[in-house]
Symmetry: C2
Subunit: 550 residues, 2 copies
């Protein structure tokens, strides 16, 4: 074992409070079975002494355990936290001062509860002091964030590059003069869209419409699909007077009873159109009037996928057959399926995967029946699967007619084929149609993703994360199972909902923010700056929790 | 006539281009029938020489006309443009260099057309150089903006106070770390909402939920109404298993077939739920599936309202009767009306007014039938009627159960009664639930509205605008009629749609940006910094246009 001192990292941005980390770092190098492991300890800080000694005892315990052969072969021990890399402005690890929510959070909850329902609030945050992968709460707790505001923070908190965008005086006007983009766009809009959105446009989709959020994106994508489908049906002739009159009173034929086919377990948003295609949890849908649109089963696969290829293929075939049956059934009802909407990985619904083969065949079914194929990448898009779009993993030239996005893209919107461009003004329209200030930030995010090769980093850290989860489910099969994922877009199931919630709470109390999905899954949604050492840091903490529950 | 030199206004903010106005101002004082008039001329600038001489000849012409008794009594002549006041950072008047759209705009349209449908685009803007009430386009034309991005710019362009907000380093984090407000709000959220939204909360509504845009606000307001109504119907007991199961597949009883009653001519947004309550133009609704919800007639009143009180009261009574009939009819169909949604002034639908008495009675009908009463103030709210909310003009203590907003409020959202608070977490929810960076800007907007007494200013300039419109319709009754308005929220009808469009185009070519609404109306939607002298400036230009068409 070799030891030595490193100078501590002082993050370069300003802060209103004095919660910055300026502690010297103590480096420990150790070897086990011919492999070198390095880890850092922070000793010259009251705040971090506890964490450091905790990590130290952690390491000691695991070294002993490993020597005694208590670990299954693929398990990654704490020492891998040493592969710390370039994200120098963030904290060196979690640091907990209080329970979470702490006293200040609870006080603020009371205050906000006078104004709003606060039942969903986890805790209040100090975003000014949050850094990179670390979210700081109002009680001074520093937590490794593997949920990132429901998968919506691309570069972690307070990335210096985004600060620079904000500090550039030339950019300020974009933040205070929000235009009605559909009628009076700013001079730089075409160039800005080319630089940002078109630079990562899915293959074959060269048209893009920005929107304010994910729900608006899907709502307007559906509208584009209906307009396109109806134009096809009427032979691209002009609408009749009857159509123009009846649409004003919500009646056929002006408002046709066409439908969008969606999947059980899918989530596409919560406004009325989106909600008619969302089927993940009843609390989202209860008491809200809806539309009679077809809902197909999504394949319920066994994990790891490569071990159950035959059964999984059968399950996928069953679902595809059901899709075709529904399309035929709804056409007979006069409720033609104008489009099919699906997530590449069902996220809110439980991180449910399907094979590339399934999606290829589904896309073919859509084509065969003249329905548009929309891939909802609101949660999967933006790089966390290791490719910019999750559907790129299917390896198709013509994967989709529409791809919607939001969250990590900072702006909502959707790419689409030329033929889905609205055939006139004001058909796809609202006051703002997005927000150029979000495009501006997105441009810089994309720049950082490229220059720092963050998709490669995601692949590396995702591999570390998933391998670690595989190991943990082998060690704790009575608690966790079905580890799965692509890139860092990973998940694992707990034995039931209660255990899942316990695991999330215990992780939080040890300084890790996680999110649930589906009935009993934990979803991992780190930022793109999540590195291998963060994965190992988490895995060690998670291992402790599982071991305590053993 | 007295003349003298004033130093020109140099606006205090930075600009990337050299299009600033630094021209000395030549002041002309004149008297007519015992009243003093002052006007400014800009002579030391090539750009403004044309405008100045145009204004001068304008004045000369009108002085002659007035002397000859050619004016109707209430007409305001150009000299009133002299009452210029405190908004010193803006331009002194329109200045046209090219036709609009000019060559650069047309070039950019071609560029953007590769990416999006651009049929609705008027021209491209240079927002950096726009100031106060003046919108600058990419061809260097400076236009008086009386449409303000579809009524969504509260303080005009590049207000120095908003620049200060952006330049404060403490605020930057709010712009780059967008939180998931429903689960991880920032520390300052309760305080920020108290300072901003709650400071202008409608009477009796102390709960507020922010959202990203107007459509999302209405969609979620409707959801709140349905949840509240359904809870009442089930006696606030827990939902049954059948309800929980059926809602997942869009079926009753989990997804009840309840409805929202809306009005013909109303506009509440374009997402599926909103669109089912929008009935202003067929192009918004054509080809989009909808819901069978009741649509009542909105009173078609004669203007000026005070001259037709008896006929108008009859028309309103007819509509109210129809509302009650529809509620009963839809209850019989099992499609209970859970809520009524209405704009205080139908905006997109044609600036259709109704009396305070109508709204009072409608509110009573809602109460009588157990339906929530939602006032959609997305376009009317924020001060342009001379009160902060248009419904304040009704003089009611308990005007609404829900008030939705967006546009000039910068953030979307809705105020509501305590009993409409969702009864559990995640029922009204999405990833972002608004954007704290918009709240931050809103706080400063509200501060400026209060300190600069902008509602008083709106009342003054609104009076000048409306009186001018009254005069013009007396002078040009074959072209314009039905001038109407509250505050600066004014409108006038052209004789037909083609004439309306001609008037808007001609105004633009003379440096005034206007917007249409309804079939043949022009709507005036200036910013809150629109002063009396802007009204007179516009009226003179509009008078010229009408005179040319005579």
């Amino acid at each position: 074992m070799h030891c030595g001192w490193f100078s501590g990292n002082k993050h370069p941005t300003r802060s209103s409070r004095n919660r910055l980390l300026a502690a010297p770092v103590y480096c420990v190098r150790t070897e086990h079975k011919g492999k070198a492991y390095i880890f850092f300890l922070l000793l010259n800080s009251v705040r971090y002494t506890n964490m450091a000694s905790s990590l130290l005892s952690h390491q000691m315990r695991y070294t002993v355990q490993r020597s005694l052969g208590l670990f299954v072969p693929r398990y990654r021990c704490v020492s891998k936290t040493a592969t710390k890399s370039s994200l120098d402005f963030e904290y060196n690890g979690p640091s907990m001062k209080t329970e979470v929510p702490g006293p200040r959070s609870r006080q603020l909850m009371k205050q906000l509860n006078v104004i709003q329902n606060t039942d969903a609030i986890h805790f209040f945050c100090n975003y000014e002091d949050s850094r990179g992968n670390y979210l700081v709460d109002v009680d001074g707790n520093i937590m490794l964030d593997i949920y990132t505001q429901i998968a919506s923070i691309p570069l972690g908190y307070n990335h210096p590059a985004l600060f620079k965008v904000m500090q550039n005086p030339q950019n300020l006007s974009t933040f205070i003069n929000r235009p009605a983009l559909g009628i009076l766009p700013p001079e730089h809009l075409p160039e800005e869209i080319e630089r940002s959105l078109l630079s990562i446009a899915p293959r074959n989709l060269r048209k893009v419409q920005t929107m304010a959020c994910g729900s608006c994106s899907n709502e307007n994508a559906y509208k584009s699909i209906f307009i396109w489908y109806r134009n096809k049906e009427r032979g691209n002739s002009k609408p009749s007077k009857k159509e123009l009159d009846t649409c004003m009173i919500n009646q056929e034929p002006g408002c046709p009873v066409y439908s969008i086919l969606s999947f059980m377990g899918g989530f596409h948003g919560r406004t009325f159109g989106c909600l008619a295609t969302t089927h993940s949890k009843s609390i989202h849908k209860l008491d809200i009037p809806s539309l009679d649109w077809p809902i197909a089963p999504f394949p319920k696969l066994k994990y790891p996928l490569e071990e159950y290829t035959r059964e999984n293929a059968q399950e996928e075939a069953r679902c595809l057959e059901e899709v075709e049956d529904l399309i035929v059934k709804y056409r007979k009802k006069g409720k033609n399926v104008a489009g099919i909407v699906i997530e590449p990985i069902q996220s809110e619904g439980g991180d449910n995967h399907a094979s590339a083969d399934f999606f290829k065949k589904l896309r073919e079914i859509a084509r065969k029946h003249g329905a548009a194929f929309q891939v909802d990448e609101v949660q999967t898009g933006g790089g966390s699967t290791g490719k910019f779009w999750a559907h790129e993993h299917w390896g198709m030239d013509d994967a989709a007619d529409v791809v919607s996005f939001s969250k990590k893209m900072l702006t909502g919107g959707y790419f689409h084929k030329d033929e889905l461009t609205p055939d006139g003004p004001y058909r796809i329209f609202n006051t703002w149609m997005g927000d150029p200030s979000k495009n501006l930030l997105l441009s810089e995010v994309l720049n950082i993703i490229k220059t720092e090769k963050l998709l490669d980093e995601v692949q590396k850290s995702g591999k570390a994360l998933l391998n670690g989860l595989y190991d943990l489910q082998l060690r704790f099969p009575h608690i966790v199972s079905a580890a799965r994922g692509v890139g860092t877009f990973c998940a694992i199931d707990a034995k039931n909902e209660q255990m899942r919630n316990t695991l999330i709470e215990k992780a939080r109390s040890k300084g890790v923010v996680l999110g649930g999905c589906g009935e009993r899954s934990i979803r991992f949604r780190p930022a793109l700056v999540f590195k291998e050492h963060h994965a190992h840091l988490f895995l060690n903490i998670f291992n402790d929790i599982l071991a305590e529950l053993k």
